[in-house]
């Protein structure tokens, strides 16, 4: 079931009413109800893959209990390895099997050796990359002694399968979310109202901005061989906003929905396109995944505690793995690698204070230096997005090749006419400008519709404005980009 589908509002209303009426009496009933709702939500897509979530959850639940009982380091390590092998095995088979097989066959062909491989028709279960990482974080934290193992099986299963963030995150840490399943939730109207505001904001970003930008981005990436440079630059910018609004929109809806049920999920996006360097960007973009890789890959590799070259190696390894997490394709690996290369000047360059605070905090407008830094960072990010969006490395290099050729200033009148005939270019440009302005003035708030401080008439006016805009854009259900990961 998609958040932007017709069924979801009915499903959400039904669950909300039952949860706070029938299931409110005990925390165990609340957990049981949420587990059932989550499995229905997931099974709506394909109930056969429920078995995988159950398997992954039960293995980690049992291993958590085993870690509690095991005394020796050896047996604890063995248990952790079993958990990692199970989760990564599920992920590896369903997501990477054909990729490895294809890459192996290609390598054999390059070496002139015979290869008799045939790919399997493997369906990628929705959300597998998210819930396996979430489940793994539990066993790793229990192994490290950061978390007491969970003894409530239903609560643990509900934690792994919690429907608001099951299919595309935020990838919650057991240390943050699991304790919330251990205590009874009470209805908080302020929290629920803010949750609804956040859902509305998420829907606006997805249905209005992302889906509109998708038209120009799809067009640019599909026909880049014949288009002029300005259209390709515009296409890359449109994709940057498409993926941002698509994914952050999902996260807002997930966080808002969780708040309706009395849960607090971690923030996943914090106005990343206002970042002044790549480091800041990655502290603001897909925060749940970035911090996951930081805590479970980068820091165990040594982080920045050793030499600068070693730190650089750790950064490259972490980003490359993060790219590979996104999809079984070399384009994602290159995307990760490119981001790590953008990071290197921060390691080897002149040490400068890390921008911690929000840009232009306490001021209405940024200064020229901040504008330059934000523009430069956004340019680098857009360059990397080209790899992320392209079908193959060849397409990505060809796309970039056109941008950095003499076609950069070649404005194809026919293309402009085509785009404007559909109103796509004007609409995307307008929406991007509106979004940027709106987010700029909201950049110190948790989300774009944090307007609780405004007078009631203004608030309700805004709710209606956004609700009608979303409603008039509802139509074909376009899946969220991150569902494929």
């Amino acid at each position: 079931m998609l958040f932007n589908s017709i069924e979801f509002p009915f499903f959400l209303t039904f669950c909300f009413v039952l949860y706070w009426s029938v299931a409110r009496f005990h925390q165990r009933i609340q957990n049981g109800f949420l587990l059932l709702a989550s499995y229905v939500f997931y099974g709506w897509w394909d109930f056969r893959f429920l078995g995988l979530i159950v398997l992954s959850s039960l293995v980690d639940y049992a291993i958590g209990l085993g870690l509690d009982r095991a005394k020796g380091l050896g047996s604890r390590r063995t248990l952790l390895v079993i958990s990692l092998v199970t989760n990564l095995g599920i992920l590896g088979f369903f997501k990477y099997f054909n990729f490895f097989l294809g890459s192996f066959a290609a390598l054999m062909q390059q070496l002139g050796l015979p290869s008799h491989t045939s790919s399997l028709a493997v369906i990628l279960p929705v959300g597998v990359s998210f819930y396996t990482f979430q489940s793994m974080s539990y066993t790793i934290d229990v192994y490290r002694g950061k978390l007491h193992p969970c003894h409530d099986a239903v609560g643990f299963l509900a934690f792994v399968a919690f429907f608001p963030q099951l299919v595309a995150g935020p990838i919650e840490r057991a240390t943050h979310l699991l304790p919330q399943f251990k205590s009874k939730r009470f209805f908080d109207p302020i929290k629920a109202e803010d949750g609804l505001r956040q859902i509305l904001w998420g829907l606006f970003k997805k249905v209005v901005v992302a889906d509109s930008c998708a038209v120009c981005a799809d067009f640019a990436f599909a026909s880049h061989d014949t288009l002029g440079g300005p259209i390709l630059v515009f296409g890359a910018i449109c994709f940057a906003f498409q993926i941002y609004c698509d994914f952050s929109g999902y996260s807002h809806i997930a966080i808002g929905t969780a708040r309706l049920f009395g849960f607090d999920l971690m923030e996943n996006f914090s106005y990343p396109y206002f970042s002044r360097d790549i480091g800041e960007f990655w502290r603001r973009w897909h925060i749940s995944l970035s911090t996951w890789f930081r805590d479970y890959v980068y820091l165990p590799l040594g982080g920045n505690r050793r030499s600068k070259p070693r730190t650089a190696m750790n950064i490259i390894a972490t980003f490359t793995l993060s790219g590979f997490w996104h999809g079984a394709s070399w384009t994602f690996v290159w995307w990760g690698l490119l981001n790590s290369l953008f990071y290197l000047p921060l390691i080897f360059g002149t040490p400068s204070p890390r921008p911690r605070r929000t840009v232009a905090a306490g001021r209405h407008l940024p200064n020229l230096d901040e504008v330059k830094k934000m523009g430069f960072t956004f340019g680098l990010i857009c360059l990397a997005w080209i790899f992320f969006r392209s079908d193959s490395l060849t397409s990505a290099f060809s796309y970039i090749g056109v941008i950095f050729s003499d076609r950069l200033f070649q404005l194809d009148a026919e293309t402009l006419l085509f785009l404007n005939a559909r109103g796509a270019a004007t609409k995307s440009g307008f929406l991007i400008a509106v979004l940027l302005c709106w987010e700029w003035f909201q950049r110190e708030k948790p989300h774009g519709l944090s307007v609780g401080h405004l007078p009631r008439a203004a608030r309700w006016g805004l709710y209606y404005l956004f609700a009608f805009t979303v409603f008039s854009h509802f139509g074909e259900e376009k899946p969220f980009i991150y569902f494929q990961f």
Binding site: I6, F187, E193, W460, F468
Partner: protein
């Protein structure tokens, strides 16, 4: 909790009221050739032939050719029409005219039964009938997603506020041509390449057998209203190649079923080249001339 639910209910009520209110303006903007055709058709009764179909009809059946042969006709072709559209269009026509047509000819083509057909969300003809049919009534009568209809009505209603200032430029021309939409463009391969993508999903279409039964019911209903019913095909150029063989077999079987039920089917016998089409499938003015002449000839052989 109660206060929260009350606030939500008030918000939703306000939302629904505004959606309904704005949606009620959705039929003010009438500057569309389909809408104008529906309104023009109502001014013509006592026709010899009423042609009902999709855009193939409004580009392929030229009433002027029939007039030369002393036949009074109207080309009631509405974009993307399928069996449900035919039903709604015929019903609206009969309700708004005094004397029924002698014959009603329904177009049959592979496209009539495809997934492109009967998109009430995209071509909201029901809102332009006299009197307009509500979205609720339409949903009850046909299998149409209600949400899509009200969303579209809302979006069109917003545009409808400005509709009065718009001047409808087409009605006079459409009245003169009796629903026919002339066009002199000729098919070219670039056009084919540009529009091909849209047609590719046709290959996955399964033939909706229920539509044939519905078409037969419509034919019987129309006959009961006093008109003789026939089915006819028009020349097409490329679209057939997009359908699967199984679909086309089912389509051929459907035509046989219509004939077996006692309704004459005028099969297309013309094999026209690209010079007769304005695009992938729509005839241009010269193609329409040939197709209309062929229809006149065939009809003259069929006794009334």
């Amino acid at each position: 909790m109660r206060v929260f639910c009350l606030k939500m209910a008030v918000f939703l009520l306000g939302f629904i009221c505004v959606v309904k209110l704005v949606g009620s303006f959705d039929h003010r903007d009438r500057n569309d050739h389909n809408v104008l055709r529906i309104h023009s058709a109502n001014q013509y009764d006592n026709l010899d032939i009423l042609f009902v179909g999709n855009s193939f009809v409004n580009t392929g059946v030229n009433p002027e050719v029939f007039e030369r042969n002393a036949l009074k006709t109207f080309s009631l072709g509405v974009d993307s029409a399928g069996v449900d559209f035919y039903d709604a269009l015929t019903d609206n026509y009969f309700r708004n005219t005094q004397i029924p047509p002698k014959r009603v000819l329904f177009l049959v083509s592979a496209m009539t039964f495809s997934h492109f057909a009967d998109n009430f969300g995209s071509a909201r003809i029901h809102r332009f009938f006299s009197p307009p049919v509500s979205n609720e009534e339409l949903t009850l009568n046909y299998d149409v997603p209600y949400f899509l209809l009200i969303r579209k009505s809302f979006a069109k209603g917003l545009q409808g506020f400005w509709a009065n200032s718009k001047k409808a430029g087409l009605p006079k021309r459409l009245r003169e041509t009796r629903g026919f939409r002339p066009g002199d463009l000729t098919f070219n391969p670039i056009l084919f390449a540009e529009t091909k993508e849209t047609y590719l999903p046709l290959n996955k279409n399964l033939f909706p057998k229920g539509d044939v039964a519905a078409l037969l019911r419509l034919a019987e209903k129309t006959q009961e209203r006093g008109a003789q019913v026939m089915f006819f095909e028009l020349p097409t150029f490329k679209s057939r190649s997009f359908f699967s063989d199984a679909y086309l077999r089912e389509y051929a079987a459907a035509l046989t079923r219509l004939e077996q039920a006692g309704f004459p089917v005028i099969h297309n016998k013309l094999d026209l080249g690209p010079e007769s089409f304005r695009n992938m499938d729509h005839l241009n003015t010269s193609g329409a001339e040939l197709a209309s002449r062929s229809l006149v000839a065939t009809l003259s052989q069929i006794s009334p």
